[in-house]
C-alpha cells in the first residue's frame, strides 16, 4: 500500500515537471507546477520530514506558486503571445540528458550511502528549531541580510522613475 502511494506521488511529481517543461502555454505550466510542488511535499512525508512537508506546501504552493500565477495573469496580452519557448536542438539535448541520467543512476546504485538506522517517526519541529538556534544560528541570521538585499533589489527594479 505504501509502495503504491509512493509511486503515485513520484508519478505526480515527475509528470507535473514534464508538463511544466513541455507545455507551451505559460498558464498550464504554472498549474502543472502545483502538482510537482505537492508531490515534493509527499516525498518529504515519506522521509518522515513532517515539518518540511508542511513548509513546502505553505511556501511553495501557497506563496510562490500564487505569485507566479499572479505574475502570469498581470502580464500584458498573456493569452495572445506564446511566451513559453519551445526548445531548440532537441536531439543533442536528449543525448546529453540521457547521458547525465545514466551516469547519475549508476552513481546512485553503486555508492555505499551513509545509512541511518530506522527509528520511530518523531516530530522534527523541535530538532529543527534547536539546530537553527544553536548550530546554525549564524546562517539563520545571515539569511535576513539576504532577504533584505532581495527586497531592496525588487523595490529598486520595480520603482517607476530611476
Amino acid at each position: 500500500m505504501a509502495d503504491l502511494a509512493f509511486w503515485m506521488i513520484v508519478l505526480l511529481t515527475i509528470g507535473g515537471a514534464a508538463v511544466v517543461v513541455l507545455n507551451k502555454n505559460l498558464v498550464y505550466s504554472a498549474i502543472a507546477l502545483l502538482f510537482t510542488f505537492f508531490g515534493m511535499a509527499g516525498l518529504y512525508v515519506f522521509l518522515w520530514a513532517d515539518f518540511l512537508a508542511g513548509v513546502q506546501v505553505m511556501i511553495y504552493v501557497g506563496g510562490i506558486l500564487v505569485l507566479i500565477i499572479f505574475g502570469v495573469m498581470l502580464t500584458n496580452r498573456i493569452t495572445s503571445v506564446n511566451i513559453s519557448h519551445s526548445s531548440v536542438q532537441r536531439g543533442i539535448g536528449a543525448v546529453v540528458v540521457l547521458g547525465i541520467l545514466s551516469i547519475l543512476v549508476i552513481m546512485i546504485y553503486n555508492t555505499p550511502w551513509l545509512q541511518v538506522e530506522a527509528v520511530e517517526p518523531v516530530q522534527t519541529v523541535g530538532k529543527i528549531g534547536y539546530l537553527l538556534m544553536m548550530d546554525y544560528l549564524l546562517p539563520f541570521e545571515v539569511a535576513s541580510l539576504l532577504l533584505l538585499a532581495a527586497l531592496m533589489g525588487a523595490a529598486m527594479l520595480s520603482r517607476k522613475s530611476n
Binding site: N110, P112, L137, A149, M152
Partner: protein
C-alpha cells in the same frame, strides 16, 4: 567556539551590518540628487571594519559560531583585499557618467551587503554557510548588474546573470547533497574525516560531487566552461560594477576553491604535505589543470577579436582566472602564495584599466577601440597610465603583473617536469595577450590625429588614477611588503585531531 563567545571575534562583520542599516536609513533622508552621499556612510563603515580587521589578534586561529566560520589570517587577508577593492570602486563610481541621473543610495548600500557576503565566503567552513554566502553575493551582483534600468543591455546583463547563476547554483547544491549523503555532515572537517574512511566504491560519487561543486565555484571565478555569462554581463553592467565583479567576487571565489579543496581533499593546511593527496584516486589536480588551460586559452583567443575595450577586458579577466587556476594543481603552499600575491597585483591593474575606460566614456568618448584613437595625444596622462596598466596586465617587467605571473610560473615549474607543459601553455598565452593589450597602446598613440588641445583630468580623477597606477609600478620594483603580508596570511585553520 559557541555563538556568544564568537561575537568578540566578529567585530568587522558587526560593524559592517550596522553600516548597512545606517546607510539604508540615511538614504531615506536624502533627496534623489543627494542620494549619492550614502557612499560616505558606507566608506566610513568600511574603514572602521578594516581597522577592526587590522587590530584583531592574528595569533588566534579558531572556528566561530559552532564551526560555521573559520577565523584565520587567510580569511583576514581576503577581507582586507575586499575592503580595499570596494573603497576603490566607490571612488571610481563617483566619476562614472553612467550612473548620472540615477538614485545611487541603494547602489552603495547593496555594495555593503555584497561585502558582507564576501566576508562570509572567505571564511565559511560549512556547506550551508558557504551556500548562503555565495547566494548573498550573487543576488546583489544580479541587482547591481541591472542597475541601469533604462538601458536594454543592462537589463539583458541582469537577466542572463540570474539564469546562469540559478543554474550553476542548482548544480552546486546537487553536488553538496551528494557529499552530505556520503559524509552525513555539512562541516568541511567532518567531511574530510568521513572521506578518509570511505570505501573505494564511493570514489565515483565523490568525484561527481566534486565536479558539480566546481561548477558553482567556477561560475564565480568565470572559469571556462562556466563563463558564458561573463562577456554579456561585463558589457551590460555599469562599468564600475564590471570592474568590481572582475576583482572582488573573483578573489573570494579563489579563496573558496582553495579552502574547500584544501580541506575536503587534503590536509587543510595550505597544502603543506602534498603526499597526503595520494589517498584518493580522484584526479582533481589534473582536472583543474585542464580547466585552467581551457580558461586562459579561450579567454585570450576571444579577447583578440573584440572591438569594444570593455568586452576585451571581460575576456582578459577570464584569461587571468586561468593563470591563477594554474597554481592550484601544484598542491603546494607556494601555489596558494602565488595566487594570493597575484590577486593583490591584479586588483590594482584591472581596476585601473576599467577606470580609464570609465573616464574616457565620461569625457564624451566611448568604449570601442575607435574611441581610443589618438587618446595618448589628447589626454597624455591618461594615455601613459593606461599604457602602464596594459604592460602590467600583459606581465612585462617592471610592473606588478610581472611579479604576479613570475610567482605563478615559478610555483608550477617547481613541481617538476610533469607540470612543464602547463607553464609552456601559460607562457604562450601571455604572448597572445601581448597582442590585444598592445593594440590599445597602438591605437592610443599611433592612430588618429594628434590633437591641438590637451585635456588634463580633474584633481580627483588624477588622484584615483595615481592611486591605482603607482602601486602597479611600485610593487613591480619593490614587492617585499606584499610578499610579507601574503606569507603572514598563509595560515589556514587546521582541525586539531
Amino acid at each position: 567556539m559557541n555563538n556568544l563567545q564568537s561575537l568578540s571575534y566578529y567585530w568587522p562583520e558587526i560593524i559592517l551590518t550596522v553600516t548597512i542599516l545606517v546607510a539604508i536609513i540615511a538614504d531615506l533622508f536624502y533627496s534623489d540628487k543627494d542620494s549619492g552621499k550614502t557612499a560616505l556612510w558606507v566608506l566610513g563603515g568600511l574603514i572602521l571594519a578594516q581597522i577592526a580587521i587590522y587590530i584583531q589578534d592574528s595569533e588566534i586561529v579558531t572556528t566561530l559560531f559552532m564551526g560555521n566560520l573559520a577565523f584565520d589570517p587567510f580569511a583576514s587577508f581576503f577581507k582586507t583585499l575586499i575592503v580595499l577593492a570596494t573603497i576603490l570602486v566607490i571612488f571610481i563610481s563617483q566619476k562614472s557618467s553612467e550612473l548620472d541621473g540615477h538614485r545611487t543610495g541603494e547602489y552603495y548600500s547593496l555594495m555593503a551587503i555584497m561585502v558582507f557576503g564576501m566576508f562570509l565566503m572567505a571564511s565559511a567552513i560549512d556547506l550551508i554557510m558557504l551556500y548562503l554566502a555565495i547566494e548573498i553575493v550573487s543576488i546583489v551582483s544580479f541587482i547591481l548588474a541591472g542597475y541601469l534600468k533604462g538601458d536594454l543591455r543592462s537589463n539583458e546583463a541582469a537577466l542572463k546573470y540570474v539564469i546562469y547563476g540559478a543554474f550553476s547554483t542548482g548544480i552546486m547544491l546537487f553536488g553538496m547533497s551528494i557529499i552530505f549523503g556520503l559524509a552525513g555532515s555539512t562541516k568541511f572537517f567532518a567531511i574530510q574525516e568521513a572521506m578518509w574512511n570511505l570505501e573505494g566504491s564511493a570514489q565515483f560519487a565523490f568525484t561527481l560531487a566534486a565536479i558539480f561543486i566546481l561548477a558553482g565555484f567556477g561560475y564565480k571565478i568565470s572559469a571556462v566552461p562556466f563563463h558564458f555569462w561573463t562577456p554579456d554581463v561585463y558589457e551590460g553592467a555599469p562599468t564600475p560594477i564590471t570592474a568590481y565583479l572582475s576583482v572582488a567576487p573573483k578573489a573570494v571565489g579563489f579563496a573558496v576553491i582553495i579552502r574547500f579543496f584544501n580541506t575536503v581533499f587534503g590536509d587543510s593546511g595550505a597544502f603543506i604535505d602534498p603526499s597526503i593527496y595520494t589517498f584518493t584516486t580522484i584526479a582533481w589536480p589534473q582536472l583543474l589543470a585542464v580547466l585552467s588551460v581551457i580558461t586562459m586559452t579561450l579567454g585570450n583567443l576571444v579577447a583578440l577579436q573584440q572591438n569594444s575595450i570593455k568586452r576585451m577586458l571581460a575576456y582578459s579577466s577570464i584569461a587571468h582566472a586561468g593563470y591563477m587556476l594554474m597554481a592550484i594543481p601544484t598542491l603546494s603552499s607556494q601555489g596558494v602564495y602565488a595566487i594570493m600575491l597575484y590577486l593583490v597585483m591584479y586588483l590594482f591593474m584591472n581596476l585601473g584599466a576599467f577606470f580609464v575606460v570609465i573616464y574616457v566614456k565620461s569625457q564624451g568618448g566611448g568604449e570601442s577601440f575607435d574611441d581610443f584613437k589618438g587618446l595618448g595625444w589628447k589626454m597624455p596622462i591618461v594615455g601613459i597610465v593606461m599604457t602602464v596598466f596594459m604592460l602590467s596586465l600583459t606581465g612585462i617587467p617592471p610592473t606588478a603583473g610581472f611579479i604576479g605571473k613570475f610567482y605563478i610560473f615559478a610555483s608550477v615549474i617547481k613541481v617538476g617536469p610533469q607540470m612543464y607543459w602547463l607553464a609552456v601553455v601559460g607562457a604562450i598565452n601571455s604572448v597572445i595577450s601581448l597582442y590585444y593589450y598592445f593594440r590599445v597602446v597602438k591605437v592610443m598613440f599611433l592612430e588618429g590625429e594628434p590633437s591641438e588641445t590637451i585635456i588634463v583630468p580633474s584633481p580627483t580623477v588624477l588622484m584615483i588614477l595615481f592611486a591605482l597606477a603607482i602601486p602597479t609600478v611600485f610593487f613591480g620594483i619593490y614587492w617585499a611588503p606584499i610578499a610579507d603580508w601574503v606569507s603572514r596570511s598563509l595560515t589556514l585553520f587546521i582541525k586539531v585531531i
